[in-house]
Amino acid sequence: MPIIIDHLTHEYETGTAMAHKALEDISLQIPDGQFVGLIGHTGSGKSSLIQHLNGLLKPTDGTVYVDGEDIFDKDYELKKLRSKVGLVFQYPEHQLFEADVFTDVCYGPKNLGLDQKEIELRAYEALKKVGFPDEAFYVSPFDLSGGQKRRVAIAGVLAMKPKVLILDEPTAGLDPKGRDEILELVRQMQRELQMTVILVSHSMEDVANYVDRILVMSKGRIILDGEPAEVFTHREELEEAGLALPQVTYVVQDLQKEGFHLEGSITTVSQAADAIMKEF
């Protein structure tokens, strides 16, 4: 299910004094099974962009093709699209509403009109996949910790069996341990289910270790697009867009400036450690 974004432009509050473009002429392709990190400062347009991918926002200009079909065509069934492209929003509080976790996860598949058995099977599988403990299935989702809530929210979308999973800042408000757990979980799911995953974040640290490709957004445009190591060579552009490189990259770049020859592309702490060890 490749996604093709074709000259997408979105303008908010068109025709008023407050009109402004959230997205400007964005074109890109995302092939099957890719793990993409979408990075940008607050207000760079990343949330607007992902909401176009499952038809929650309608573009002012341009369009999006999913599986070769124009999703903004009049006859296109958006409801079907939403089971193909799953979108998990930033705050799990925005979607949890049922009295217990299991029933909440059933909500998505139920909306697809499946029969009860299939619904429950999918909910069970999804909760298992996100590593949610069995004994907490019938706990109220409002009594869970932040990290657990997020797992339930992801399971709620996963239960619809999407082929593309988009996560909007899945680590916001989590402590470092919870953050690593969620990111590790996403990577694992991506590999197991062969899904396309788009991970939205404003932190390079978050995505550097996990993704195949980084898209950097600034002021409604894609300014950089490439593999993590390649993107990190554009230090100035990134800083201008209000983004910082992972701290380890700064260390490595400073070391290189001091005359140490560290080899290979280094984006993670363990890679840096290996390279430094090799040097001595």
Partner: protein, 270 residues
Amino acid sequence: MIREITIGQYYQTDSILHRLDPRVKLIGTILYIVSIFLYRKPLPFALAALFLVLCIMLSKVPFRYMIRGLKTILFLMLFTAAFNLFLTPGEIVWSIGKLGISKEGILATVYMILRMILLIIGSSLMTLTTTPNQLTDAMEKLLWPLTKIHLPVHEVAMMMSIALRFIPILLEETDKIMKAQMARGADFESGNLLKRMKAMVPLLVPLFIAAFRRANDLAMAMEARCYQGGEGRTKMKPLRYKGRDTGAFVVLICYLAAMIVLGKGLIPIL
């Protein structure tokens, strides 16, 4: 989607009307509304309309923003028009079956519609040029004498400003929740009434929880700042009448005088 709905529809620009003391605008609007209900003659209406047009021009707010308010009461206007047209007794000029339209009915309808239009545009003009906070400030100040009879004026004003402040926040929250549920295949738009009401549950539960959480946070923040109500409280920007406010009052009085003169037919040539 929901982003386009505006309540407390303040239009940001710089005009003499924006800079007037909110108390003047509040009193002015009330007097204006009273004035359009005083007489049922063409000339006073012409004057009221002219006065409003001048104010709109002074306000620098585009005219289509004024019209927006009218859309919301379109149904009410149609109902009123229908009732006035068909149910006013008098000289019948046209009829279908038992329903007849009388001359008096037509007249009553025209006046009623005109009044409603002027009323809505007049009050929109106030809300377009005054922020909700200014408005509650003005109300608090104007109603202050009522504290003598132990009415909690400050508390009521505070509640109003908090409620107004929360409207856009909750709207935004609603928008986000709707999207999150739509991403899970929720359908808020199709089906019969019962089905649609049921579809609201996944929207309302998170919304209520969010509202309670926010209210709790706000209460905590107010407590932390030792907030304790109106007694002895000072303001960062106290309301003070300036030269232009006096001017506005004079204009207002002139308008009212002219209205009465025209309404009573005190100038025979007119």
